[in-house]
């Protein structure tokens, strides 16, 4: 009989991998999503269409299909042999970028055109007005949506077990296969996801409260 104490550290180590997937995915998603949103609101027609197609594609295809498509199809075809972790982070990131672009776009739109135009009348260039006036507000407005995106990408990251990334679920499955005892290991895995979801969104909501602009109530 294997005791819980024997395998818990092994599963816990998966938290680091999961956080790596989530952190990497969110970061890439941010780097891709924010410029996409700016392009969608302020860009020329051609840029807008490109971003729309990108967002539409990655939001329409299931994550599992995307993972297989990129890991077995697109990356090898392009001559890259990526390890499962890198490939998973990239796919989670590019997909999250599609969702994040929509979060940021909504936030930018809700800042309103008036302030942007006011900045332009002061003589600010397009990019300066966006950088100094629109983005500081839009990013604040985005935080709740972003917290939601964190929770989603965290839970989605479990699908990366299909590529053998050593995250929480992969490790839990190995434990179950070794012990032939599914209940407690899967229970632990579930509990870990609850803790991660709760603490992450809590941190982001605290940041959101700290950054609130005095007197202002945002309507989304």
């Amino acid at each position: 009989m294997v005791s819980v104490v024997d395998y818990v550290p092994y599963i816990l180590e998966g938290v680091l991998w999961t956080l790596g997937l989530v952190g990497g995915g969110l970061l890439i998603g941010f780097i891709v999503g924010l410029p996409s949103a700016i392009a969608q609101v302020y860009g020329h027609r051609f840029l807008k269409i490109m971003v729309e197609v990108y967002a539409w594609f990655f939001r329409s295809v299931p994550l599992l299909v995307l993972l297989f498509l990129f890991y077995w199809g697109i990356f090898p075809a392009l001559g890259f042999k990526l390890d499962p972790l890198t490939c998973s982070i990239l796919v989670l990131g590019i997909r999250s970028g599609a969702y994040q672009s929509q979060i940021f776009r909504g936030a930018i739109t809700s800042v309103g055109e008036g302030q942007y135009i006011a900045a332009r009348t002061l003589g600010m260039s397009k990019m300066r007005a966006i950088y100094h006036i629109v983005l500081p507000q839009a990013l604040r407005i985005s935080i709740p949506g972003w917290a939601n995106e964190y929770a989603i990408i965290l839970k989605d990251s479990a699908i990366c077990f299909t590529l053998g990334v050593m995250e929480i679920l992969t490790r839990t499955r190995y434990v179950v296969m070794a012990t032939l005892e599914p209940l407690i290991p899967y229970f632990i895995a579930g509990a870990l996801f609850i803790v991660l979801t709760y603490s992450g969104t809590k941190i982001l909501n605290t940041i959101y409260d700290k950054l609130k602009i005095p007197g202002l109530i945002w309507r989304m």
């Binding site: 800042v111 008036g114 302030q115 135009i117 006011a118 900045a119 332009r120 009348t121 002061l122 003589g123 600010m124 260039s125 300066r128 100094h132 006036i133 500081p136 507000q137 604040r140 602009i213 005095p214 007197g215 202002l216 109530i217």
Partner: protein
């Protein structure tokens, strides 16, 4: 000395010639021409849809006119090679809806243009911003955010924001139309004070008391054209056209006869 002053006074700051603009096949401006001299306060009024706002937006190139020319201090703005961002630094704009930057205090609303556009050091910009806020009577509200200010205070910050850039001309687009009646006075007082200091301006407004007390000339627009022009008292009390007469009667019904 006096001669020099009168020469400066006579200098043409803004010249608009034969301006046309249309949106979706609707012609909004049909050949607008006028000049604004240094220190002058030009009043523009007319029914809604007559093209007043479009005219102001054309002057600082928020919208491109289809035809016609605009000069600011002798420089033609309607050429392709113009640096829009440079020109706009010289044209202050005050909006009906204030459009303050919500994430910045009153002080930073005024200073950010100086910092970002005029490349002033932050301390210097704050000093200048404080000076201008004092001028509009908002010194003690400098560290409040827009959402903590009343409508009248917001509009005064917006005026300060335009003024701080030391523009050649300030364009006011119905600056008191979005305000509660009891807040209009404080904004008009600031505008009057600036007019008396000879800050060159174009004011689109329905405040006839204001127009008569500081306006040097009034342009009455209707259907994309200037159909009356002259000293405000003349245009208001002795309009030549039936349209203007009806308009001013209606305004007086709505706003009452008392002077503001």
């Amino acid at each position: 000395m006096e001669d020099v002053e009168s020469m400066v006074e006579d200098e043409i700051v803004l010249k608009v010639e034969d301006l046309y603009k249309s949106y979706n096949n609707v012609i909004v401006l049909k050949g607008i021409s006028f000049e604004v001299r240094r220190g002058e306060t030009k009043i523009i009024c007319g029914p809604s849809g007559s093209g007043k706002s479009t005219l102001l937006r054309c002057i600082n190139l928020l919208t491109k006119p289809d035809k016609g020319m605009i000069w600011l201090e002798g420089e033609e703005l309607t050429t392709r090679s113009i640096n829009i961002n440079k020109v706009r630094q010289k044209i202050g704009f005050v909006f009906q809806e204030f459009n303050l930057f919500n994430h910045l205090t009153a002080l930073r609303n005024v200073s950010i243009g100086l910092e970002v556009v005029k490349k002033m050091k932050r301390e210097e910009a704050y000093k200048r911003a404080m000076e201008v806020l004092r001028k509009v009577g908002l010194e003690e509200h400098a560290h409040k955010y827009p959402a903590e200010l009343s409508g009248g205070q917001k509009q005064r910050v917006a005026i300060a924001r335009a003024l701080a850039m030391n523009p050649s001309i300030i364009l006011y687009d119905e600056p008191t139309s979005a305000l509660d009646p009891q807040l209009i006075g404080e904004v008009l007082e600031v505008m009057k004070a600036l007019a008396r200091e000879k800050v060159t301006s174009i004011v689109v407004t329905h405040e006839m008391g204001f127009a008569q007390s500081v306006g040097d000339e009034m342009l009455f627009m209707y259907d994309g054209k200037i159909i009356e022009r002259g000293p405000p008292e003349e245009v208001i009390h002795n309009p030549k056209t039936e349209i203007a007469k009806k308009f001013f009667e209606r305004i007086q019904e709505l706003y009452g006869r008392e002077k503001r």
